[in-house]
Amino acid sequence: MSDFTKTTLSNGLIVLLKEIHSAPLISSWMWYRVGSRDEAPPLTGISHLVEHMQFKGTPKYPASMMDKAISRDGGTWNAFTFLDWTTFFETMPADKIDLALRLEADRMRHSVFDEKEFASERTVVASEREGNENEPLFQLGEAVQQAAFRVHPYHHEVIGDMADIKSMRRDDLYRHYRTYYVPVNAVMGVAGDFQTKGMLSRIKELFGKIPAGMTPPRLARQEPEQLGELRLSIEGQGETVYLQAAYHFPAASHPDFFALSVLDSLLAGPTNLNMFGGGGISNKTSRLYRALVDKELAVSLSGGSTTTIDPFLYYVTLTIHPNRTPDEALAALDMELQRVQDEVVSKEEIARAIKQARANFAYGMENITNQAFWLGYSEMFANYDWFLTYLDRLAAVKPKDVQRVARTYLRKQNRVVGTYIPSGKDGM
């Protein structure tokens, strides 16, 4: 698993390569350190819009030609924008990877950002947001996130506010693109059926001459400590009540992250960190399922966090049982959290969490795309060592550590509780 090569080109581009010869495939990922964390009004959602415009062509590879070229070769490609990063990937038959490398090198510098293409893509993204707005849990999540971050740019959803999506100008996007899409701000991860030496020299040839660029400025708006529990409720259509409790949670590089991962497994079942493959482990014997769903206060439950540069949130989301109130469910949630703060968990429970993580990792190792994903993803909030040592660091977690992090982070004062109440139904 540790057989990989990490190099920094002279222009600052970090390159990680991992040979995997199990199938004739290569997956290549280009990561830029830019996401909604780098945005302020009236330009929320700009990173996501720039990601969309990266599919709209360069002089060498016009828009429709790029899609068709990748499809014709039997490849797949896509892109994702998140809080801290934007990433573009291609997984191709091994002998066709050069096309992907050429496209990626070209659009790092030469995307056109045509006015007409932008006008059309703006409405596509508005439509994407409208689709999200159809979902009660998107509406609730957005309200909770905004309440949890008054100062830090994690305040807004990655897709941005509709007002900003509708008012941004092409030149705003182009400036954002030129500021952040530079080698010094990028990490490339490639895994699959290649020889490292040949792959590295091809990458140097294609990317090595791109000017390094300047290290982009960062917004430095640290979130002050929350001074007490915040509660909110929103209203909407339907019959179903939802509750979300979000606790401020440390960065992925923080030592407490690992004890919290164990705690998450115990409370709500393991969170799957793989982008492709993995997951699927149910949570029906987790502590919160037993206390809330088995006891018929909720009909479903999920919990989890994500890996971020700055402290983000740990979420518990409940679909409330039709015959119960959100207050009753919240009281039961609090009793379970109190229990994990009062009583030290058993070593067996920790061993179980570690086995679940080991299984999720094994499932993720089945496919090359996911292995390539980890090379660069881990560099976005820590480094590849974080991934390689993850299971060992989980194994080092002690029962006392779990109790300590439960007391430190899963406090009422440290959380936002939001409810989604169908219009006309009684609230909390």
Binding site: D3, E19, H21, A23, P24, L25, F55, D67, K68, R72, G74, G75, T76, P93, A94, D95, S120, E121, T123, V125, S127, E130, G131, E133, N134, P136, D193, F194, Q195, G198, G236, Q237, G238, E239, T240, G269, P270, G280, I281, S282, N283, K284, T285, S286, R290, E296, S300, T319, H321, P322, R352, K355, A357, R358, A359, N360, A362, M365, E366, N367
Partner: protein
């Protein structure tokens, strides 16, 4: 890992074929298929039995789904909690999914836990006891899902589309039922449905992962080889599907939604029909290739009307459907619908170009290794081989089959199924 010569084309040996797919039929009628993959210490299982919603009376729609959801709620050996405890403690998963003709299952585990996974599968299939209190809990969960479905524009458009296209045919009925029908189902109904429809005859099970095929087969035989059910019924036959005489439109109003879902479509071939592959390649050009084919190009790329707009061919055992789906702002439903119908008209009038066909053929052949890279991908391929009698060498022959499809065949199948004057059009939203 030692180096290997760089592959220059899709090497045949990486695709599943007769010498690495192991198949055995047990005396009780269960077909087992296995393929080894030692690249990760995990295993994936999937399969199906011949039980499905075709058995349900109209007043108890959702019975098959309800029963299937209840299989792991308690068995002769385990309570709900103790059964899931066994699975979750080792990071394994197991789930069931009820369809019209078959009830499917899938699971995964670290290879050291394969035997446990198969034993729990066998228990859930053969020895569920449907405890009364668990059934009532589950009923509330199903009713909540139906309340959420009623608010989901995509689900409601799907449901409405099936009602139009499959009028008077069992395919018109939603497999998760309605709240009245879920309320009408008793514990005795679940027991009776299970007793009559669950059995080994026609069952298929696939194992792919870090285990020698012979060993996997032996475990399956030891766990499921003694299953017998003399009461197992055959599925009832289906009536003929009547085609639409004219275009029928239906709208479901769901207030407060900022986006509407639109489905325009018609009948499609069965998976086993000879013109299936031609229809599939035609569909790729229509609404898949690149950024969602011609439909995506027109509705999304050129007009900016939708985040998603694509076509799909849904082919199985019975009469299939051929649909175009789009999520659009309520104000743009008509505009998007007109653009889609325009593309359908062009598709049946002039077919596809030589270049378009060649592009999609190259895509189908080139993406094969990608679709087969995970254990789950290979397992799905083996299920296809068995369910549709494609032959163990199907994925080796596949490139030639794809290449042999002609433009004329695509045009013929498009005209056979798609009549732009006789479409089912369903919308859901504000």
């Amino acid at each position: 890992m030692p180096g290997r010569p760089k592959s220059l084309s899709v090497s045949a040996s990486s695709l599943p074929g007769p010498e690495d797919i192991h198949r055995r039929v047990l005396p009780n009628g269960i077909t087992v298929l296995c393929r080894a993959n030692f690249n990760s210490p995990s295993v994936f299982i999937n399969g199906y039995i011949h039980a499905g919603s075709l058995f349900e009376p109209d007043e108890k729609l959702g019975l098959a789904d309800f029963t299937t959801s209840a299989l792991m709620r308690g068995t002769e050996k385990h309570t709900f909690d103790s059964l899931y405890n066994e699975l979750e403690t080792v990071g394994a998963s197991l789930g069931f999914d009820s369809g019209i003709h078959v009830t499917g299952f899938r699971g995964r585990a670290l290879v050291e836990d394969l035997k446990l996974l198969l034993e729990l599968l066998s228990e859930a299939l053969r020895q569920p006891i449907f405890p009364g209190d668990e059934i009532e809990k589950l009923r509330h969960q199903l009713l909540t899902s139906l309340a959420i479905r009623a608010q989901d524009t995509s689900d409601m458009a799907d449901l409405t589309f099936d009602e139009i296209l499959y009028h008077d045919h069992p395919y018109a009925r939603p497999e998760d039922g309605f709240s009245e029908t879920i309320q009408a189902i008793s514990r005795e109904d679940l027991i009776e449905y299970h007793r009559k429809s669950f059995g080994p005859r026609g069952m298929v099970i696939v194992v792919v992962g870090a285990v020698a095929p012979r060993k996997a087969m032996d475990i399956i035989e030891s766990v499921l080889g003694d299953w017998q059910n003399p009461n197992q019924l055959d599925l009832p036959s289906m009536p003929e599907l009547k085609k639409l005489d004219e275009t029928i439109r239906k709208h479901v109003t769901i207030s407060g939604k900022s986006q509407a879902d639109l489905i325009i479509g018609t009948n499609g071939p069965r998976r086993n029909d000879e013109d299936y592959l031609a229809a599939s390649l035609g569909n790729s050009v229509l609404g898949q290739f690149g950024m969602m084919g011609r439909v995506g190009d027109s509705v999304r790329e050129k007009s900016g009307l939708a985040y998603y707009a694509y076509s799909s061919l849904n082919a199985g055992i019975g009469p299939g459907s051929w649909t175009v789906n789009a999520g659009v702002s309520p104000a743009n439903v008509k505009k998007a619908g007109d653009l889609i119908i325009k593309e359908l008209k062009r598709f049946v009038k002039s077919g596809i170009s030589k270049e378009e066909l060649a592009d999609s053929q190259a895509n189908y052949i080139g993406r094969l290794p990608l679709s087969l890279e995970s254990n789950g991908g290979v397992a799905a391929a083996l299920i296809n081989i068995e369910r549709y009698s494609l032959g163990l060498d199907y994925y080796r022959r596949y490139p030639e089959l794809v290449k042999s499809v002609t433009r004329a065949e695509v045009l013929e199948v498009a005209r056979k199924y798609i009549d732009p004057e006789r479409l089912a059009i369903a919308t859901a939203g504000s």
